[in-house]
Symmetry: C2
Amino acid sequence: MATSDVKLLGAWPSPYVIRARIALNLKSIKYEFLEEQFGSKSELLLKSNPVHKKIPVLLHNDNPICESLIIVQYIDEFWSSGPQILPSDPYDRAIARFWAAYIDDKWFPSMRAIAAAQGDEARKAALEPVYEGLALLEDAFKKISIGKKFFGGDNIGYLDIALGCNLGWVRVTEKMNNVKLFDEEKTPCLYKWTIDFCDDAAVKDLIPETDKLVEVAKIIMAKMKAAAQN
Amino acid sequence: MATSDVKLLGAWPSPYVIRARIALNLKSIKYEFLEEQFGSKSELLLKSNPVHKKIPVLLHNDNPICESLIIVQYIDEFWSSGPQILPSDPYDRAIARFWAAYIDDKWFPSMRAIAAAQGDEARKAALEPVYEGLALLEDAFKKISIGKKFFGGDNIGYLDIALGCNLGWVRVTEKMNNVKLFDEEKTPCLYKWTIDFCDDAAVKDLIPETDKLVEVAKIIMAKMKAAAQN
């Protein structure tokens, strides 16, 4: 496996960047991590992803691949000899893609809405769809994992990466709002899954410490507030 | 190929349903089309897609598959012996997925925003991102098709389906706003592509007549207006 021609444009707090890094770890691909500076965009990023101007971007032999779930699928398809990230059965693959899209289109946005909610009532209302989503995901986990550790079975797969990448920010949300999202009683399977996921060798150095992320959250919220006032 | 166990829950005006139907046609899969009634949702739909309650849903041996681009990928992967819909090369596949996501996340929403714009100035402003998107897609077409008829090369592929499914609604937008979106001078490659796409045997009976769609558009707009007044 060639190693020198794989680069990843990213930043450590980004859950989407973490997706690509977990996938590269699972396939044992060595890569150069090119850290973008907070609040600015490098020339290489603007050149590599001119449409969205967003991280992550995987550069493979200088060819850019953008969008985190597309990167994960690319890694799985290009390095097909390594451990499989997507299920091999077409139906299982469709189900994994369905829930990954649900996470990106519905659940992550519902979690982000908590930060924007002003006051106790608004925050309570913002939490509702987050809990509803977790109940759906708990149910999906039972059906998909069929008693195994991960959505992907015995090993971390596509859907584990799609959801688990954001566990750092889940903990920030829990801490800043004094709530429990992945709850041992309400969603016992997902609760156990978070522990197994974060313990995995491909993951454990990638989920940022909560206190470090809280500092990032404070900077982002101050910026949002300043922007809203202008 | 078994034919009796493939059903599609849909409605003729929906571009997302058209995606699934083109893919089934390309693979020569016979299927039963279960038409949902406008303004209501069948028990089967609610049971098959309880999360989003949306068409299309493909039922294959009673197993539901939801979300149009996931259905297209499923069809390509399950009936892998038929003509290939996604490119075989992982990088080409990533590029096709990138632009398909761009179409769903950016370009279609920008086109829908034209209908919501009130007054000439607002409509002019709403048209801008639509034209910008088309310029990007024209450029992408040149790079991807490399002189061939389709994004998919000599045959219709994933990205052709992703964009082309909506050509009926493009024509409605053009007619109701007296504008030209796929323009022979501004985007000559895409203009020619629309003709080739709609002429293809897998497509030609599926893109609805503009006048029929205009009637649907009027009903939807009246409903939206009534909802906004309540």
